[in-house]
């Protein structure tokens, strides 16, 4: 006998525990998919989740990929907490990279300590401006932010494409769709010789700290949380809804812009078509898996970064197509959402013996 009861309140421990259930179920599900594809599931999972991080280089790659995911997800958590569905972070990342990259290209033959901060600032402002489009349209024209922010992803990618093949393409680049290399002063300093991990990780950590402070210690954070829980209450309390929508989108866009600029000034070093393997979309999963909590997001960004790395490793060693990464990412979110059922409902398994005793 199984009995399902609605819970009166959500136990907090379970709230942070269910993401782990989701991860375990995803690994099991992945094993089944590998088995269906004709691979030894244990071996495939080992190549997927253990091999990539079994050496120092792998750990550095993990943090390298977790950095943009963490940054974007931190920004998105402001939007999602207040019920604003910004799903166009990929576009904000791209536009941030375009603006930041543009500044870096201005200084392509110059050196100076002031260049990198300028490039980073430009990237954040770029992302912020791009995120303001869906926010302004939502607040003043009542337009659905999901669709607008998403359409802008395509627009920004086409703009980047136009720039790298057209006006910004490298004059000495044999018509390859890419810009000049940035000067060393526009590049993020590397943390260790021989590893790709760069100073951008400090931006992500700063964003985590700052977001924790804003969300839990300021009036703005309080407003965001209340609006997320109940719009009616927020209105009754007299919060300025429109300003808040603009602010959360600006924070979110700035973070995505920073992530974009971190990629082009970090591992890439120039602008070309493929500056992000859909970090902006994957970060949505990171935000949810981290329960929209700044520290949860750090953890989640590493788990999801591992799916990127694992997909690459599995492709090299087992010729498993690398798209399994996205399949894993989709599965994590499916299982996470499904396990939320446990938060709102109590499942009681009544043994037959008890029933018999009652009779």
């Amino acid at each position: 006998m199984i009995k399902i009861e609605k819970r009166n309140d959500v136990p907090m421990a379970l709230y942070f525990f269910t993401p782990f259930i989701a991860i375990i179920l995803t690994i099991l599900g992945g094993g089944i998919i590998f088995y269906i594809l004709g691979f030894n599931p244990i071996e495939a999972l080992k190549f997927y989740f253990i091999t990539p991080i079994s050496n120092l280089y792998g750990l550095s790659e993990l943090l390298l990929k977790a950095t943009p995911l963490c940054l974007i997800a931190i920004g998105l958590s402001f939007c999602f907490k207040s019920n604003n569905w910004n799903i166009g972070a990929e576009g904000q990342l791209t536009f941030g990279a375009i603006v930041g990259g543009g500044v870096a290209l201005l200084f392509y033959n110059q050196e100076g300590f002031y260049i990198l901060p300028l490039v980073i600032l430009a990237g954040a402002i770029g992302g912020m401006i791009f995120a303001l489009i869906p926010a302004v349209l939502k607040t003043y024209f009542n337009t659905n932010e999901i669709l607008v922010s998403l359409m802008l992803v395509y627009v920004s990618k086409l703009l980047l494409d136009y720039l790298v093949v057209g006006p910004w393409s490298n004059p000495e680049g044999f018509n390859f769709p890419e810009t000049r290399q940035f000067s060393d002063s526009s590049r993020m300093p590397l943390l260790f010789e021989g590893l790709r991990i760069h100073a951008g990780i400090f931006l992500a950590l700063a964003a985590v700290m700052l977001s924790w402070f804003i969300l839990y210690k300021t009036y703005l954070g309080f407003q965001i949380k209340v609006s997320g829980l109940s719009l009616k209450t927020a209105k009754y309390a007299g919060f300025k809804g429109k300003t808040m929508i603009l602010v959360v989108f600006m924070i979110s866009g700035a973070c995505a812009g920073l992530a974009g600029v971190g990629e082009i000034t970090g591992p890439i070093g120039q602008l070309h078509r493929m500056i992000s393997p859909d970090y902006g979309f994957t970060a949505i999963i990171v935000a949810f898996l981290g329960r929209l909590n700044p520290f949860g997001i750090i953890f989640a960004s590493m788990v999801v970064a591992l799916t990127y790395l694992g997909a690459e490793t599995a492709q090299i060693f087992l010729q498993i197509p690398k798209y399994t990464g996205q399949v894993f990412q989709g599965m994590i979110l499916f299982f996470l959402l499904a396990s939320d059922y446990l938060l709102f409902f109590k499942i009681k398994i009544l043994s037959l013996k008890k029933n018999e005793l009652r009779h």
Binding site: L147, M151, Y162, Q329, G330, A338, Y341
Partner: protein
């Protein structure tokens, strides 16, 4: 002059062809949304339909099986969404996003061995009439059966919603699930059916792309059409006939953009390619400005979770 007129006929014919996936996907999603469910997984369901249709065509060499199979695969993948949102009461927006990410990944994985295989010619109807009648020939004749179905679908959908009892049930469930439930309607069951129907139509829309429109498998070949279809439903303020009009406008922009590129219009290709997306935003702004008008037609319970205490 006669040359111009026949050219315009061909142009209109190609606009119709390019609007088919949008009509199919948006009509399916419209029914889903009318029942109060917001499924953002349209893009994911379309791409799954595209690869399953193409793969089945290559494996069985039978186009009928391919078309039916693509619809079934749409049903199966939408069942995941249905189970999560209806039985496990998950958030519609997040679940739909997961479906799209999952679908794109899964389709690329399944399609790995089908890249570069040439497609098969899909039979077209009344091809002799297409050549013999100027102007109207290329508009009315020489299309695939899926196109004729797609153009009938908005009218059928309209009839279903307005004139049939089942249509009334769907609207009641979308507008007031609590009263519908009190009337003895199984809200969850109705919503499940609408979700699966939406999945079937999105699967067919995907198969149209990979079997008829550009007969081959290319990764990510839906290229955002699923999202445009979602925007179309809002554009149409949930009315099936307006979906048809909207889809033709978007098909028109896509074709016009291709022609402008072909005749060497002095605007960079990328700006023309961005037109459908920019147009979507502009149209959404114009439509949504009047919040009362939007609210009048929006299914009242759209995207809200329905839970009945047992």
């Amino acid at each position: 002059m006669s040359l111009d007129i026949s050219f315009i006929g061909i142009l209109i014919g190609s606009i119709m062809a390019s609007s088919v996936p949008l009509i199919l996907a948006a009509s399916g999603e419209l029914i889903t949304e009318r029942s109060g469910v917001l499924n953002l997984g349209v893009e994911g369901m379309m791409i799954i339909g595209a690869i399953s249709g193409f793969a089945l065509m290559v494996i069985t060499d039978n186009l009928f099986i391919a078309i039916v199979g693509s619809m079934l695969s749409g049903v199966i993948i939408s069942l995941i969404f249905g189970f999560l949102t209806q039985s496990l009461l998950t958030n519609h927006v997040a679940t739909g996003l997961a479906l799209t990410i999952f679908g794109i990944g899964l389709s690329a994985m399944l399609g790995k061995n089908f890249v570069g295989i040439p497609g098969k010619e899909f039979p077209i109807l009344f091809s002799s009439l297409r050549e013999s009648i100027p102007f109207f020939g290329p508009i009315l004749f020489g299309h695939s059966i899926v196109l004729y179905f797609a153009f009938a679908l908005p009218f059928l959908t309209n009839y279903f919603l307005k004139k049939t009892k089942l249509g009334l049930v769907v609207r009641a469930v979308g507008d007031s699930p609590v009263s519908a439930s009190n009337q003895g309607i199984n809200v969850i069951l109705v919503r499940y059916c609408c979700i699966l129907y939406g999945g079937a139509m999105c699967g067919l829309a995907g198969a149209y792309l990979s079997l008829i429109y550009t007969p081959q498998w290319i990764e990510n070949m839906t290229a955002g059409r699923g999202w445009i279809a979602l925007a179309l439903v809002v554009f149409a303020t949930w009315s099936p006939i307006k979906v048809l009009i909207g889809a033709l406008i978007f098909g028109g922009i896509t074709i016009l953009q291709l022609h402008m590129q072909a005749i060497g219009f002095r605007i960079p290709v990328q700006f023309l390619s961005a037109l459908p997306y920019l147009m979507t935003i502009i149209v959404l702004v114009v439509i949504s400005r009047d919040s009362r008008k939007i609210k009048l037609n929006t299914p009242t319970s759209l995207g809200r979770i329905f839970y009945k205490e047992k």
